[in-house]
């Protein structure tokens, strides 16, 4: 489970909630982007947050970095509550919690050189340095993200670098703050496939060498398995499952996790349809009660459609938000043990009350 030696999480969120209020015709309603999320990041570990587009994962990154204010919930940094009101408090938080964006080009100002971007970061977090000290700091940052020789990269513009190099510069920028927590919002989604591994390995080395806590947000559950110690699966603004990456990918508990795993193309399995393919993500505007995955879930019954399940522990550091794991007599029967084989096609799982 937790590999942290001191026992205190670097960053912890409890009940994190974000509702975007609507204007105009839909005034009074709100988009429930994130609902009641508990998250824990420990130093030297990677937690993966997996979900599809619109599930709220990027919003969580922005909430944790204080870029947008939260609607409800608590945030603690090394046990101390975080307010983030006012510039000083924000800067203090930023010096310990850094964010890496998905699009490596968009996150670097195209009119500034690498030197300028990194210098600003250093100036903000390390104060004013003498020019030779500054140069040394820039070189050190670039070396740490494996952009060597640093002289070759320091005066380049973003458009002169490849996608992978840009992302490394973005990582270098965030390292200037010497952060304890790195929130990586889909850091490799926009990179060429051959480059992805390199960047992931870089993040891994940051975790091991600098004991940084990393939140790895992605829609690709396979890379979570490779890279993360713990995985949390998110759907429609809620955490639907969490546990160690191994457990989740080998024996998923929540039907959505199962769906994610099954969605990876498998040349061995024939064409296969499940009822879940037919649905789509629910609208997050003032969602009704009931499990938000019910429309796509092959096991959903009336209970699922009427009452919202809580995140229920299912032993050994795992939890799932599914009525199937509760003690209630009217719970659905959830059986995810069907292997991905020819025998399963085309399956329909009938519910029994």
């Amino acid at each position: 489970m937790s590999l942290d030696s001191s026992g205190m999480p670097a960053l912890e969120a409890r009940g994190l909630t974000k509702h975007f209020r609507l204007r105009g015709r839909n005034r009074g309603k709100a988009v429930h982007a994130v609902d009641d999320v508990d998250l824990r990041l420990d130093r030297g570990t990677v937690v993966a947050l997996v979900g599809e587009s619109g599930s709220g994962k990027s919003t969580i990154a922005k909430l944790l970095s204080l870029l947008i204010p939260r609607t409800a919930g608590e945030l603690t940094l090394h046990g101390e509550p975080v307010h983030g009101r006012g510039r000083r408090a924000f800067r203090r938080h930023a010096s310990r919690v850094q964010l890496i964006f998905q699009d490596p080009f968009a996150s670097l100002n195209p009119i500034h050189t690498v030197r300028y971007t990194l210098t600003r970061a250093v100036r903000i977090h390390k104060g004013h340095l003498r020019s030779d000290e500054l140069e040394g700091a820039l070189h050190e940052l670039l070396s740490r993200v494996q952009l060597t020789p640093p002289e070759r990269y320091v005066d380049k513009y973003p458009h002169e670098l490849s996608g992978g190099q840009r992302q490394r510069v973005a990582i270098a920028r965030s390292l200037a703050a010497d952060p304890e927590v790195l929130l990586a919002d889909e850091p490799i989604s926009m990179l060429d496939v051959s480059i992805r591994l390199g960047v992931l390995n870089l993040l891994k080395s940051l975790r091991d060498d600098m004991q940084i806590a990393i939140l790895y947000i992605t829609h690709d559950i396979a890379s979570a398995r490779y890279f993360a110690d713990r995985t949390m699966v998110m759907y429609a603004g809620q955490i639907v499952e969490n546990g160690s990456s191994e457990d989740i990918t080998q024996s998923p508990a929540h039907p959505y996790t199962r769906l994610l795993l099954d969605s990876a193309p498998d040349p061995d399995a024939p064409q296969r349809t499940t009822r879940a393919d037919a649905g789509e993500a629910p609208s997050l505007v003032s969602p009704a009660s009931g499990c938000r995955f019910a429309a796509r879930c092959p096991f959903a019954n009336d209970l699922c459609r009427s009452e919202t399940p809580q995140l229920l522990p299912i032993g050994d550091g795992r939890a799932a938000r599914c009525w199937g794991y509760s003690e209630r007599p009217d719970r659905p029967i959830v059986d995810l043990t069907v292997a991905r084989s020819a025998a399963a096609a085309p399956t329909e799982r009938e519910m029994t009350a």
Partner: protein, 350 residues
């Protein structure tokens, strides 16, 4: 090193977080030099420099005092009077020469003032959003819709012979709204982009974000807006002088035309009285427009690339279309002519 004329979207329609391979605006030295190498821009700047020089040295270089009376009344151009004379023998050439100063002065001062206001209002509105944005937008829209010329007339008319500075200020007050609107739109677009969020997440302060991150990205638009405002200011100053709003003691190209009009120059067929002044106005106007075109082409590489290679394509018998990369079906694939973005489309038999 070569500049990639990669697929850039035009100013007003930049999508947020455009994908990899996008170059934008004044990115590096080579691109800046490309801007200056543009023939249109050079021509425009040269003309402007010429008139600025005239504005400065005009009164000293003029052969006659513009008000000095002479003998030949309404005489056509001659060696002594290059532009002919007015009704009381005044030398029109000197009048036009001396008149250059107030025109250029008002033009540039009004341009600078108006652009400053536009940047202040537009960028603030775009960045802050919310109530500040609504209020400032309302202000700009009101000034945008109010008809400029009548407003200026109503303000400056009662003043007895307004001097150049007052005229410049009045023009600036009516002319800033357009630029403010464009800048607000652009700032809004940039505000949402990742690099601004990244700067915020890094702990960058708001003034620094606006001034050092967003503003440089807007430089081309600001330049273009400035040029447009100067054009408007010059035309307006001349018009005001023509109507008689600015004092008659201040020489301007418009004053020359005013005199021409009041003395029935048209009926008399005294074309030399008003043609030179008009041509000067046109020359400055065209020069400014050329500079504006240059900025436009520079910022939007789609225009740049297609125009640049149009001649080369023409030689091969291919009609250039914006955004399309022509491929010659009849030859072995060698080097493509245009590295612009877009899909393969048109070929024509040579």
């Amino acid at each position: 090193m070569t500049v990639e004329p990669a697929h850039l979207t035009p100013q007003e329609m930049d999508p947020p977080n455009s994908t990899a391979g996008v170059a934008r605006g004044k990115v590096d030295r080579a691109s800046q030099l490309l801007f200056l190498r543009n023939g249109k821009v050079i021509t425009g700047l040269l003309i402007l420099a010429f008139f600025t020089l005239l504005a400065i040295i005009g009164p000293w270089v003029a052969p006659y005092d513009p008000d000095a009376l002479g003998e030949d009344s309404v005489a056509p151009p001659s060696l002594q009077h290059w532009f002919g004379t007015a009704n009381l023998g005044q030398d029109i050439f000197s009048q036009v020469l001396v008149g250059t100063r107030s025109v250029m002065f008002v033009g540039f001062v009004a341009g600078i003032l108006a652009t400053l206001i536009a940047v202040l209002v537009g960028v603030t509105a775009g960045y802050l959003g919310g109530a500040a944005d609504e209020g400032l937008s309302l202000l700009s829209n009101v000034f945008l819709v109010l008809p400029a010329l009548p407003l200026i007339i109503v303000i400056a008319g009662p003043l007895d012979g307004a001097n150049s500075l007052v005229v410049a200020i009045v023009i600036a007050i009516t002319a800033w709204a357009w630029g403010a609107r464009v800048l607000r739109a652009q700032t809004l677009s940039h505000r949402r982009r990742d690099y601004v969020e990244a700067a915020r997440a890094n702990g960058e302060s708001t003034p620094r974000i606006v001034l050092a991150e967003i503003l440089p990205n807007l430089s081309a638009i600001i330049a273009s807006s400035f040029v447009g405002t100067v054009t408007f200011a010059i035309l307006t100053q001349v018009t005001l002088a023509f109507i008689g709003v600015t004092g008659l003691d201040q020489w301007s190209w418009g004053t020359v035309l005013f005199n021409a009009q009041s003395n029935q120059a048209l009926i008399r067929g005294a074309w030399w009285w008003f043609v030179p002044a008009g041509l000067c106005i046109a020359a400055v106007g065209v020069a400014l427009a050329l500079v504006n075109f240059g900025i436009d082409e520079f910022v939007n590489p789609r225009l740049r690339a297609t125009g640049k290679y149009a001649k080369a394509l023409k030689k091969r018998g291919v009609r250039a279309r914006v955004g399309f990369t022509p491929v010659d079906r009849h030859e072995e694939p060698s080097t493509p002519v245009v590295p612009a973005s877009g899909t393969v489309l048109v070929t024509e038999e040579s």
